[in-house]
């Protein structure tokens, strides 16, 4: 009896052990109730329970990166709505934009929001870059993230330009012709790249379809992953840069609630501003592209006005390929040239050389663009 019960016990304990392992197995297979796991999510990493109060200081970042992010989100949301109506064929593209603009309920507002949020994203991202330069925020260990950001800016410009082409109005068509011709000027890879982008010997249906796919799907994905990595890397590098804490001073912290409240208020103001802008200034749209008639006055989209000005003066290989490439190279190398930079303070004297070079370059681009716009 005793042995029996001992047997029973051992049997029970074996069963219990088996149950326990089954339970453990069950537990590990149990469907997750929580999709957002606090400590493994980028969103959580961006909103920790406690964060340095200095990261929240508006006059340090001016919220520019966040504004660019928000504007890009709005552009994606409104872009999805536009995609329900847009037809990427040469004979229908412009007509479908006109339809969106004039017939579809709220179409004009949605399109204007799309347009203005895209422009705001470009402006905010550029200013964000300037802020990073002027506060030395690209100093070690953030050099790599600077390169990511620079790449994102280039992608953002391409995103903007590819959207501009989709209007298929006079200006867009001729801008595409000029852009495609510039691509052909790139040494070695130019002709293949041209064929890959334009998809035909002439700029037409294939090019429009490719640009629409790049604009709506390709670049959206690439920029999306790029931004996610940019933010992830920001956390890896220690969060938003800030001046080193003077010894002996207490660590000032802010709570997650403060951060969310600030974000909410900034979002409300930014969204309101964008809606007001969109309501008062509709997105531009020219007459349908007439492939047989060269237009009287073609302007590049504003982001490339400076290239257009250069094209009037110098060889296309220099104006459209070499100089922009050199500019990018200079920007990419800036953190390495500016090796003494320390993050956290605006216009630190140690960085004077880098700041002066950056400022002169920026002024030159603005001056060239204004010249082209006003001439």
């Amino acid at each position: 009896m005793a042995s029996q019960s001992a047997n029973q016990r051992s049997g029970e304990s074996a069963k219990r052990r088996g149950n326990e392992s089954a339970q453990r197995l069950d537990a590990s297979f149990r469907p997750r109730r929580r999709l957002w796991r606090r400590h493994q999510s980028l969103l959580y990493a961006l909103h920790p329970d406690r964060l340095p109060a200095a990261s929240l200081r508006f006059t340090y970042t001016f919220g520019l990166g966040g504004l660019a992010f928000l504007a890009a989100l709005i552009a994606i949301g409104t872009g999805v709505l536009l995609a329900f109506y847009y037809v990427p064929t040469p004979d229908q593209a412009h007509a479908s934009v006109v339809l969106i603009e004039d017939v579809v309920a709220w179409g004009s507002l949605v399109r204007a929001l799309h347009y203005w949020s895209a422009q705001v994203a470009v402006v905010a991202a550029t200013l964000h870059m300037a802020r990073v330069v002027f506060t030395g925020a690209y100093a070690r260990p953030r050099r790599f993230n600077w390169l990511i950001g620079l790449g994102l800016l280039v992608l953002l410009l391409l995103w903007d330009f590819s959207g501009y082409v989709l209007r298929w109005d006079e200006g867009a068509y001729w801008a595409l012709l000029v852009g495609a011709a510039l691509i052909q000027q790139i040494p070695f890879v130019g002709p293949s790249l041209y064929l890959a982008l334009v998809g035909d010997t002439t700029v037409g249906a294939a090019a429009l379809l490719r640009f629409s796919v790049w604009h709506i799907i390709g670049l959206t994905l690439v920029v999306g992953f790029g931004v996610a990595y940019h933010l992830f890397r920001l956390q890896v590098d220690g969060g938003i840069s800030r001046p080193p804490r003077p010894p002996g001073q207490p660590r000032l912290l802010a709570s997650k609630d403060d951060l969310i409240r600030v974000e909410a208020i900034a979002t409300l103001i930014a969204v309101s501003g964008l809606i007001a802008l969109a309501a008062l200034a509709p997105a531009p749209l020219g007459p349908a592209a007439d492939l047989t008639q060269p237009p009287a006055d073609v302007r590049a989209p504003w982001i490339f006005l400076w290239v257009q000005r250069l094209l009037r003066w110098i060889d296309p290989v220099w104006a459209g390929v070499a100089l922009p490439a050199l500019l990018l190279l200079f920007l990419a190398a800036l953190p390495w040239f500016d090796a003494h930079a320390r993050a956290g303070l605006w216009f630190h004297p140690r960085q004077r050389a880098a700041h002066t070079a950056f400022l002169l370059l920026a002024l030159a681009l603005v001056a060239l663009s204004l010249w082209e716009a006003l001439s």
Binding site: S272, P287, A288
Partner: protein, 487 residues
């Protein structure tokens, strides 16, 4: 409420306000305003405030033009709106509801029949161009481009000859260069664009078009003083009462009131802005008053190269048009005090005598007015010795029959005999109803008149004197007595 909560609430309020702003702006779109105005003007049949799509059968492309231009007159029964729509003639962006965008690519601005664009509007294939030699008269666009009304070739030749700029009266120049691949013997094959006196006179818009420089002082003066003043179909008219008209085909076929005000149903066309047609309509029943917008409005002084308006015209528009009878108005507006005219010249409209070939050209470049002018008194009245020349309507689809149907006033059929000009153009409106008996249908009013004949009378005419000035000697209307000397 903490400071941050207040800020959050203000942000929300701001968002709502901007959304309201966006909604308000959308509701104020001009096309909605036009529809509201239309409804206010037509309370008995209000329309929904929504885009009004129209898909003309000829193009199959939906257009929204009549959303704003609701109430506009159909241009003509031969161009029904359901079949043609607007874009096929006017161009523009038919899907746009924004006026600027919709109108950015209009052909010829308001007037698609302007000669600079007529080849792409009225002159599209299978419209008023592109027919073979057997139906060459249907190529109205080419005919008009080569006609005196467009080239002013005879006038240019005469003025240049008078001032010694060319050795004879042969036409060399036109307002715009024009060519005819198959001219009749002694008719011009091509005319160059009227020259300028000096290189620097050529306006920037005309540079690079191969326009000659004559080095004769009269050319630029003549161009600027007269030709640019609206004396041909290329040039817009002077914006003055009695003289307003369109250009190209519409110069004749699109009727203007003397005051140049629109009186139709399209609310977007300003009713107090001179320079619009009376209604959005084309017609072949063109009254004398339309011809009058160019002809008989005054005199050119060759010495000063200036146009002098007639000083004796009554004020344009009402009350003149309303209170005077047609004939009284004609007397007041048309004939200059010293000009003699016969009863038929007074009672008929210009187009009752002057034929299509005369007004629009016969397809060849007329070098002088005699090339164009065919009609004589004897065409309809005959001579003392002969009845008017006649010809039968031979087949369905022949030109005279088409013209009669287009006009709709007279019932003409195959087998009828009509008067014919010396060049063989049939006057569909003057029928021989019985041997030696002729009846004319007036093209504008539709009245019918018995045509009095010279044949068999004791009229003292001479066989080689058939121009109207010879007839005026006896048949001129006496204004003071209100009678004709010899009816």
């Amino acid at each position: 409420m903490s400071g941050q909560q207040r800020l959050l609430a203000s942000g929300l309020l701001l968002l709502l306000l901007t959304l309201a702003l966006a909604g308000w702006r959308a509701s104020q779109a001009p096309w909605r305003q036009w529809l509201r105005r239309y409804n206010a003007a037509h309370p008995e049949q209000t329309v929904p405030i929504a885009p009004r799509p129209l898909t003309p059968t000829l193009t199959g492309q939906t257009e929204l033009c009549t959303t704003c231009h609701l109430g506009i007159e159909e241009i003509s029964p031969s161009h029904p709106l359901d079949a043609f729509g607007c874009v096929i003639c006017h161009g523009g962006d038919g899907l746009a509801l924004d006026a600027d965008r919709a109108h950015a690519t209009l052909r010829g601005g308001r007037n698609p029949s302007d000669l600079s664009v007529v080849a792409t509007s009225c002159g599209q294939a299978n419209c008023h161009s592109g027919y073979d030699a057997t139906h060459a008269d249907q190529n109205q666009v080419e005919r008009v481009l080569r006609s005196l009304q467009a080239t002013y070739a005879g006038g240019i030749a005469l003025v240049r000859f008078t001032f010694g700029a060319q050795p004879d009266r042969r036409a060399r120049y036109a307002v715009r260069a024009v060519a005819d691949p198959n001219p009749p013997p002694d008719w011009p094959m091509e005319l160059a664009t009227m020259p300028f006196s000096a290189e620097e006179d050529i306006p920037p818009t005309l540079v690079g078009q191969g326009i000659a420089v004559s080095h004769h002082p009269i050319d630029t003066r003549f161009r600027q003083g007269c030709l640019d003043g609206g004396c041909h179909l290329w040039e817009p008219a002077t914006l003055a009462p009695y003289r307003m008209r369109s250009t190209g085909c519409a110069a004749c076929h699109y009727l203007y009131a003397d005051d140049g005000l629109y009186a139709g149903g399209d609310l977007t066309i300003a009713r107090d802005e001179p320079g619009h047609g009376r209604e959005h309509r084309l017609t072949t029943a063109i009254p004398f008053s339309q011809c009058n917008h160019c002809h008989n409005r005054g005199v050119y002084s060759l010495r000063t190269m200036e146009f002098h308006d007639r000083p004796d015209l009554p004020p344009a528009g009402s009350p003149l048009s309303e209170f005077l009878s047609r004939q009284e108005r004609r007397l007041a507006e048309y004939y200059q005090p010293v000009g003699p005219f016969t009863l038929c010249e007074w009672e008929l409209d210009c187009i009752d005598c002057h034929t299509s070939d005369e007004a629009m050209g016969n397809g060849h470049i007329a070098g002088k007015i005699e090339d164009s002018r065919v009609i004589e008194c004897r065409t309809c009245h005959g001579t003392v010795w002969e009845l008017p020349q006649t010809a039968p309507i031979v087949e369905e689809g022949e030109r005279a029959l088409l013209q009669a149907r287009l006009n709709g006033r007279g019932a003409l059929k195959v087998g009828d005999r009509v008067v014919v000009t010396t060049r063989g153009e049939k006057l569909w409106a003057v029928r021989e109803v019985a041997p030696g008996r002729f009846v004319q249908t007036l093209k504008v009013s539709g009245e019918t008149l018995e045509v009095p004949l010279a044949y068999g009378t004791n009229c003292p005419q001479k066989p080689d004197e058939q121009e109207s000035r010879y007839c005026h000697a006896c048949h001129a209307y006496d204004r003071d007595r209100g009678t004709v000397a010899a009816p």
